[in-house]
């Protein structure tokens, strides 16, 4: 499907590319902001227990005094129960601290998104390089498999697989299931890129020089596909976060009481008019993260893969 892979300039020189990333970073404000947002949420993910300890509440700790049971468990106080004790208010019904939950929710959501992305990248690069470099039957078989996987109604299958599985770690299952349907996208990009690199002079030179196929793959091909893959991957992460949210929204996500953004949004949608704060907090977090990754991905693509590997 990649129609325009003929004239990509060699992007093998990793150091040069990173230098231009740094230059670009200094130039674009949007990029600075998005890097900051991504860093912020990444930090939140890593240090979730520490950060939520600052607020003094655990993510699973009930606070009966913060909700009014006679009003269906609506938080007491303005803005969904925002107070010195609960910085972002509380969850209706349970009175759990929203700040603690959104911080821990970031951990779960981003963990799932990153891990699923990692699976997709590893599987996609392996399949793409193999198909592109070895060609022949390997290529045919792998390409068929890609076509088949892409023909699956993926959301429907993910819902189905999540809902029938029992007695398993749901976070792990979700990572695997999301990863399962994502790899052909990367594989196609990598395959196209590999095909175009395979007959470059420097690759031919290495081959003539007696390098084995593994050595060529590792030293010449992989660095060459790295740029487009990084850009593609960054742009994929928002989709992964959104998929986690969608699955959780449909009730097949992580196991309670573990918070995730998707699960928080799913539960808070119904409260949009009675407790808007509850709905806004996870929605805004999701929005900001997706936005930041999209901007970052755009910029990385412009730098690392100017001709665009996404077709």
């Amino acid at each position: 499907m990649t129609l325009t892979t003929t004239s990509s300039p060699p992007v093998s020189g990793g150091s040069g590319a990173w230098r231009s990333v740094r230059a670009e970073l200094r130039r674009r404000t949007s990029l600075k902001v998005s890097v900051a947002v991504v860093a912020f949420f990444a930090l939140m993910t890593v240090a979730a227990p520490l950060i939520s300890a600052l607020g003094g509440w655990g993510p699973e700790e009930f606070d009966k005094s913060a909700v009014d049971p006679y009003l269906g468990g609506l938080p007491i106080g303005p803005l969904g129960g925002v107070s010195a004790e609960h910085w972002l208010g509380v969850e209706p019904v349970t009175g759990r601290d929203l700040f603690a939950r959104v911080v821990h929710g970031a951990q779960v959501s981003l963990l799932i998104a990153f891990a699923a992305t990692a699976i997709v990248v590893v599987a996609g690069v392996a399949a793409g390089v193999a198909a592109g470099y070895f060609g022949g039957r390997t290529d045919t078989a792998l390409s068929r498999l890609m076509d088949l996987t892409m023909s699956f109604p993926s959301l429907i299958f993910m819902i189905a697989m999540m809902s029938v599985a029992r007695d398993v770690d749901r976070t792990l299952l979700m990572i695997l299931v999301i990863g399962l349907f994502g790899w052909p996208g990367v594989a196609r990009v990598v395959r196209g890129q590999t095909l175009s690199l395979k007959h470059r002079e420097y690759v031919d030179a290495a081959r003539v020089g007696g390098s084995g196929p593994w050595r060529i793959l590792a030293r010449d091909i992989l660095p060459g596909v790295a740029g487009p893959v990084i850009a593609y991957t960054t742009l994929m992460i928002p989709g992964m976060i959104a998929t986690e949210a969608a699955l959780s929204y449909l009730g097949v996500g992580v196991r309670p009481p573990t918070p995730s953004w998707g699960q928080m949004i799913a539960e808070s949608v119904a409260y949009y008019d009675t407790d808007p704060m509850y709905f806004l907090v996870p929605s805004v977090c999701l929005f900001l993260t997706v936005l930041a990754f999209t901007l970052l991905g755009d910029a990385l693509r412009d730098i690392l893969d100017p001709r665009g590997g996404r077709s």
Binding site: F62, L71, G72, T94, R166, P257
Partner: protein, 581 residues
């Protein structure tokens, strides 16, 4: 009635916990709490006055009916809808709010049935001149036909009282291949005789179930009868698009003179299905235009409760009749650590029922439970508190009990809840955690819930589930939930604590053999407390059925015998001209 049937009805779309529970007059006990319950002021009364004849009543629903085929209809709200509007049964419940709704009245039959042979044979005689929607007469053979249908494996899901009590029921497989059940006799067009293998004094209660409604053989299309049941009641089906819309119009062959229960006020009843629960709530709160003549099928969503209770005019249109189900934390008594009485008692003490009530929608629509049986089965309609544990639990006592059991450091265990009860599961988890019992929650899709917890080997130690009596008698509750002889390795139902106690079993047999109903009732009530002391379960909560009605709706009340569902026999409109066509 098992809660399974509710669950099947409650599609995933309804995240509101499975409804319909409570004690029929439980509102009185709420006075002792710190605030007066704001939701129950309409209980025991008819809301909106007497309706006028005519107009279109709209029912806003979030789901389709599970089954309208009378041989398969065993979901409380659906049974109310079916038997009040589409088909008549031998006997039915009076159309009265409050406790009077548990009184039986003859429907197709002339009386409540005549027992003979020590209540092993029951004879009913039909009223004269009863007709179907096409004017053909209703005969006793048609009732026999539907009873036979309920045995067919092609038509699963319905009440099994016929299968449980009729002679020869064990091996009968329905009428599809031309075989008939000899223990149901129809000596003439108006007489039907049931021969049972054991004495069953409460048979008239069973005869209110849709199994005992007529189905004319020529109209019987097997599984597809479900989409077009043939009417013997005041309305017939004009169109039925599954999961979208059901339109009922008057059955002109129904004779009001033969029917002391159904009033049939509206000309048309339109059920719109598959709407979002909170959008139904918003429409009925606003109650503008055609929505003024609408009633809700779905229960009020928890997040809408604050919008209703804070407005007096909306609150006045809320029905919150409690129904007869209780939910509890059931412990696997056959497996460590719950084979130890002290550990089970620790769970009873650690459980925070206030948190469960809040999780299920708050004290306005849920009552904390202090007994296993619902209040409706106790004298005075209120559950006694035999355990005397504070509603929010007694963590110190629980810790002490755990220490005595040699589990001073607590332990880890797992709890299965239906997806709809996720919040309740979290409340259980949090409250047991206070005593050092670390609970992992398994949420299971409602459709798979009873299969999952029915597998006694692979299931978790704890399950949160309940039971609803089929009619107001302890005999439809305690034996189902605590008789150890009915435990099955797979497909186990009711007794999810796997409680096997010889003294309890002996006592249940004694009570079942009592001929004096009042004495038996008292004995069931005492047994309830004795069982709780052995702690196979920790009482949880009892939910109410919360239904909003439009401003133009009259004659509305929640019927106690159908889990607080709106009684469709008497509901109608104040001003029919204001309704949509």
């Amino acid at each position: 009635m098992n809660k399974r049937t509710y669950t099947l009805a409650t599609a995933l779309v309804t995240t509101l916990a499975l409804g319909m529970t409570g004690c029929s007059d439980g509102k009185k006990s709420d006075g002792s709490r710190d605030r007066k319950n704001p939701a129950t002021s309409n209980n025991g009364a008819v809301v909106g006055g007497t309706p006028q004849r005519g107009g279109t009543l709209t029912v806003l629903s979030n789901q389709d009916f599970t089954h309208l085929d009378p041989a398969r209809n065993w979901v409380m709200p659906d049974m109310d809808f079916g038997t009040r509007l589409l088909y008549r049964t031998l006997v039915t419940y009076a159309a009265q709010p409050g406790a009077k709704g548990t009184e039986l009245v003859p429907d197709l039959a002339e009386d409540l049935g005549t027992p003979s042979d020590g209540a092993k044979t029951w004879t009913f005689r039909l009223k004269p001149g009863l007709k179907y929607e096409d004017g053909t007469p209703i005969t006793s053979r048609d009732i026999k036909h539907n009873v036979e249908r309920s045995f067919s494996p092609d038509l699963p899901g319905g009440p099994d009282y016929a299968a449980r009590y009729l002679v020869g029921g064990k091996d009968y497989r329905g009428p599809a291949e031309g075989r008939h059940l000899d223990s149901v006799k129809t000596p003439d067009d108006r007489t039907i005789v049931f021969e049972l293998h054991t004495a069953f004094a409460e048979f008239p209660f069973a005869a209110t179930l849709p199994t005992f409604a007529p189905v004319p053989k020529p109209r019987d299309k097997g599984p597809q009868y479900d989409s077009r049941p043939f009417s013997s009641g005041p309305y017939k089906i004009e169109t039925y698009a599954r999961d979208k819309q059901l339109v009922l119009v008057r059955n002109t062959h129904w004779d009001p003179g033969s029917d002391s229960v159904r009033k049939a006020y509206p000309d048309r009843i339109v059920v719109t299905m598959g709407l979002k629960g909170n959008q139904i709530d918003d429409r009925l709160i606003a109650s503008s235009g055609a929505d003024a003549s609408a009633v809700s099928w779905a229960q009020l969503r928890p997040e809408s409760i604050s919008k209703v209770l804070t407005k007096a005019d909306v609150k006045a249109r809320l029905l919150a009749e409690s129904s007869s189900c209780t939910e509890m934390v059931q412990m696997h008594t056959g497996r460590a650590p719950f084979d130890d009485l002290k550990v089970r008692q620790a769970v009873q003490y650690a459980l925070d029922r206030e948190a469960i009530v809040t999780a299920a929608g708050g004290p306005a629509v849920v009552d904390a439970s202090t007994a296993a049986m619902p209040g409706a089965l106790f004298t005075g309609g209120t559950q006694p508190d035999t355990l005397k544990i504070p509603l929010s639990g007694d963590v110190e006592k629980a810790k002490q009990l755990l220490k005595e059991a040699g589990k001073a450091d607590g332990f880890s265990t797992r709890l299965t809840v239906s997806m709809n009860d996720k919040r309740i599961g979290e409340a259980v988890q949090e409250s047991l955690g206070r005593a050092g019992i670390k609970v992992t929650i398994e949420t299971v899709d409602p459709s798979a819930f009873y299969d999952t917890i029915g597998d006694t080997k692979s299931r978790t130690d704890l399950v949160y589930t309940g039971w609803c009596p089929d009619y107001p008698s302890g005999s439809t509750f305690l034996p189902f939930v605590f008789d150890g002889r009915f435990i099955k390795a797979k497909g186990n139902s009711g007794n999810h604590s796997l409680f096997k106690d010889d003294a309890t079993i002996e006592r249940m047999d004694e009570i079942a053999a009592m001929s004096d109903g009042a004495q038996a009732n008292k004995a069931w009530q005492e047994l309830d407390g004795q069982i709780l002391a052995k702690a196979p379960v920790a009482p949880g909560a009892s939910k109410r059925r919360t239904l909003l009605i439009g401003t133009n709706v009259a004659g509305a009340f929640g019927h106690t015998s159908w889990s607080g569902q709106l009684d469709y026999a008497t509901v109608g409109l104040k001003d029919p001209s204001k309704s949509a066509n």
